[in-house]
C-alpha cells in the first residue's frame, strides 16, 4: 500500500496553508488530494476583493489570495493529486481515493488533515412551499455560473438569506445587468458583514427586508415569481403581510454546512452546533493523528482566519508525525452558556500554552461580560461593546490560564443590563 507522512484532504485555502505549515515544520512527504482541476477551492470563483487584510495587510481578490498559496505549494514541490476525490477515510488513517489516471487506490497516512470545506444549504433543506421550477440556485452556484462559466442564471432576481455570498451575488448580478428586487432575511439582523450590506446592497439601492422570508415559489417550468412574507418574533409567516414579486430567479444564501461525510465515516466525533469535528487546541479530532481546519471544522467569516487555523493544524500534524511518542495530557472540556453558541476548540489540553478560543453568539448582544469559569472560579474575563451572530469572536487565553484549567470550564456571555438601560 502507498504511504504518505501527511495526507491533506482538500486543496482550498485550508488545505494549502496546512500543507505549507507542515512543510515549514520539517515534513517533506506530504500529499494534497483535491477533487477539482486546480488548487484554490471556492476562492477561484470569489473574484471580489476583501481577502487578505489580516494575513497580507492588503486587499486581494479570491483568486489572488489563492494564487499566493498555490505558488508557494508549487515552489516547495508539495505533491498534489488533482481531479482526485477521496471516497473514504478509515480509523487507521487509510484514505481511499479515486482519480482519473490511477483508478481506485488506498494510501496510508502518518497523519491526516481534513480540509474539505463546506456546502451551501439548499432548497430541500429549507422546505419552501410551492412548485419545483427551474431558476432556483444557491448563491454559490450562481457565482460559479457567472464568474467561471460566464453565464447569467437570470434577469430578475430575489435573494433569500443575507449571508455574505448572497450579498456579493446581489452586487455581481446587478453589475452584470440583472435587476435584484430584494434580499429577504428571516432573522431581524443580517448574517453578512456590515461592509457588504453597504457596498453590495446600499450602493445599488437593493432593499434588505429583515424578518422576511419567501413563503411560496411560483412557476411551472421556470420561476415566475415568489411570495415574500413578514415573519413574527417566532419566525412564523404573517400571511396578511405578504406580497408577490415577479422574478425568474431565486438565489438562496441561507447558511453553510461543513462537509463531514468522510469524518462521519471514520467515526470522528462531531459537534452538533458547528457541524464540524470536536477538536482540541491543536485542531486534533477524536481520532488521533487526524486534524481538521477551515470551513470543514466550523464556518469562518474570513479566509484569513481559515489560513491561520490551517497553520495550526498543519504544524500539529507535522508534530504528530515527527514526535509520535507523547504522554497524554489532561483535557479540559469547554462548555458554553448564556449567549455563546459554541467554541472552537471545544477542548484544551491543560498547559498547552497560549490558546485562541473562537466562538459565536446566538443573538445580537450589547455591553457583554465574557467569563471563562471553572465552577465559581473565574479564569478569564473580558468586556465587549457589541457582538453579533454574524461575526466570529476570539479571546486569547494566556499560558497561565490554560495551565490552570481543570477538567471542565464554562464560557458565558451575559449582557450588563444596567449598562444597557443607561443607553
Amino acid at each position: 500500500m502507498n504511504y504518505a507522512d501527511i495526507i491533506i484532504i482538500g486543496g482550498g485555502p485550508a488545505g494549502m496553508a496546512a500543507a505549507l505549515a507542515a512543510y515549514e515544520a520539517g515534513v517533506r512527504d506530504i500529499l494534497i488530494l483535491e477533487r477539482d482541476a486546480a488548487l484554490g477551492g471556492i476562492l477561484q470563483q470569489c473574484i471580489h476583493n476583501g481577502f487578505g487584510l489580516h494575513r497580507f495587510g492588503e486587499e486581494l481578490t479570491g483568486p489572488e489570495y489563492a494564487a499566493r498559496y498555490a505558488r508557494a505549494v508549487r515552489e516547495k514541490q508539495i505533491p498534489c493529486l488533482l481531479n482526485s476525490i477521496v471516497l473514504s477515510l478509515s480509523q487507521d488513517r487509510t484514505v481511499t481515493v479515486m482519480r482519473p489516471d490511477g483508478g481506485l487506490s488506498h494510501i496510508r497516512a502518518g497523519a491526516v488533515v481534513l480540509a474539505m470545506g463546506c456546502r451551501e444549504r439548499s432548497r430541500g433543506a429549507l422546505s419552501i412551499p410551492g412548485s419545483r421550477p427551474a431558476g432556483i440556485y444557491t448563491a454559490g452556484t450562481a457565482q460559479r455560473f457567472v464568474n467561471i462559466k460566464g453565464m447569467m442564471p437570470g434577469k430578475d432576481v430575489v435573494i433569500l438569506g443575507s449571508g455574505d455570498i448572497g450579498l456579493i451575488m446581489a452586487r455581481r448580478m446587478t453589475l452584470e445587468g440583472a435587476r435584484v428586487h430584494a434580499v429577504c432575511e428571516l432573522m431581524p439582523y443580517s448574517g453578512g458583514l456590515n461592509r457588504n450590506i453597504v457596498q453590495c446592497l446600499q450602493d445599488f439601492g437593493i432593499p434588505l427586508l429583515l424578518s422576511h422570508t419567501v413563503s411560496r415559489i411560483h412557476g411551472d417550468r421556470r420561476v415566475c415569481g415568489v411570495t415574500i412574507s413578514r415573519v413574527d418574533e417566532h419566525l412564523q409567516v404573517v400571511p396578511e403581510d405578504s406580497r408577490y414579486i415577479p422574478c425568474d430567479t431565486l438565489l438562496l444564501s441561507c447558511g453553510l454546512i461543513p462537509e463531514n461525510e468522510l469524518s462521519r465515516g471514520a467515526g470522528i466525533r462531531l459537534d452538533p452546533v458547528t457541524g464540524g469535528a470536536v477538536v482540541n487546541e491543536r485542531r486534533e479530532t477524536s481520532l488521533p493523528g487526524v486534524f481538521a481546519c477551515g470551513n470543514v471544522l466550523h464556518v469562518h467569516d474570513l479566509v484569513d482566519y481559515v489560513s491561520e487555523e490551517a497553520d495550526l493544524a498543519g504544524r500539529a500534524a507535522a508534530d504528530f508525525v515527527l514526535h509520535s511518542e507523547k504522554k497524554p495530557s489532561p483535557i479540559c472540556r469547554i462548555h458554553v452558556q448564556g449567549g455563546v453558541r459554541y467554541t472552537v476548540p471545544q477542548q484544551i489540553r491543560v498547559g498547552s500554552g497560549e490558546v485562541r478560543l473562537y466562538f459565536r453568539v446566538g443573538r445580537i448582544m450589547h455591553h457583554v461580560n465574557l467569563l471563562l469559569r471553572d465552577g465559581e472560579h473565574i479564569l478569564f474575563r473580558k468586556k465587549k461593546q457589541k457582538m453579533t451572530p454574524g461575526e466570529m469572536e476570539c479571546i486569547v487565553l494566556p499560558a497561565e490560564v490554560t495551565a490552570a484549567l481543570g477538567n471542565e470550564a464554562v464560557l458565558s456571555a451575559e449582557e450588563e443590563s444596567a449598562c444597557a438601560k443607561k443607553n
Partner: protein, 118 residues
C-alpha cells in the same frame, strides 16, 4: 451642522462612523473609527465615494473567463459605465496576475488581471 452615520467598508470590522459636517459640506470631525483608514474613508465617502471594481473579461483563446479588477478605486458613479466597457474587452492567454488588460479605464484606473491562465 449635521451629523452623518456611515459604515466603514475598508475592512471586515465594519466600524460605525459618525461624521460632523458643517453647512458648507466641510467635514468637521469623524469618530467611531478604530484605525486611521476609517477617518480617511469617511472623508472620501462624503466628498467623492470610490470603489474597487472587480469583474471578469473574456479570453479570446481559452474557454474560460479571466477575473480582473481596477488597480485602484474608481468613482462610484462610474461603475456602470465601467461595466459597459468591460463587456467589450477581452484578453489573450497566457496571462498572469497583475498584467494590465486595459490602460486608463475612464481615466481613473488600469484594469489588471487577478488570475493566472497559462
Amino acid at each position: 451642522m449635521r451629523e452623518k452615520e456611515l459604515t466603514c467598508i475598508v475592512c471586515p470590522m465594519g466600524c460605525t462612523l459618525h461624521a460632523e459636517i458643517d453647512d458648507d459640506g466641510n467635514i468637521l470631525s469623524v469618530c467611531g473609527n478604530t484605525c486611521p483608514r476609517g477617518a480617511a474613508y469617511a472623508k472620501a465617502e462624503l466628498t467623492h465615494p470610490t470603489r474597487t471594481l472587480t469583474s471578469t473579461v473574456r479570453l479570446q483563446n481559452r474557454d474560460a473567463l479571466l477575473p480582473v479588477k481596477t488597480d485602484r478605486p474608481i468613482s462610484k458613479e462610474k461603475m456602470a459605465d465601467a461595466m459597459k466597457i468591460l463587456r467589450t474587452v477581452s484578453a489573450c492567454a497566457p496571462v498572469h496576475i497583475g498584467d494590465v488588460i486595459l490602460h486608463n479605464l475612464l481615466g481613473e484606473a488600469d484594469l489588471v488581471a487577478t488570475g493566472d491562465v497559462e
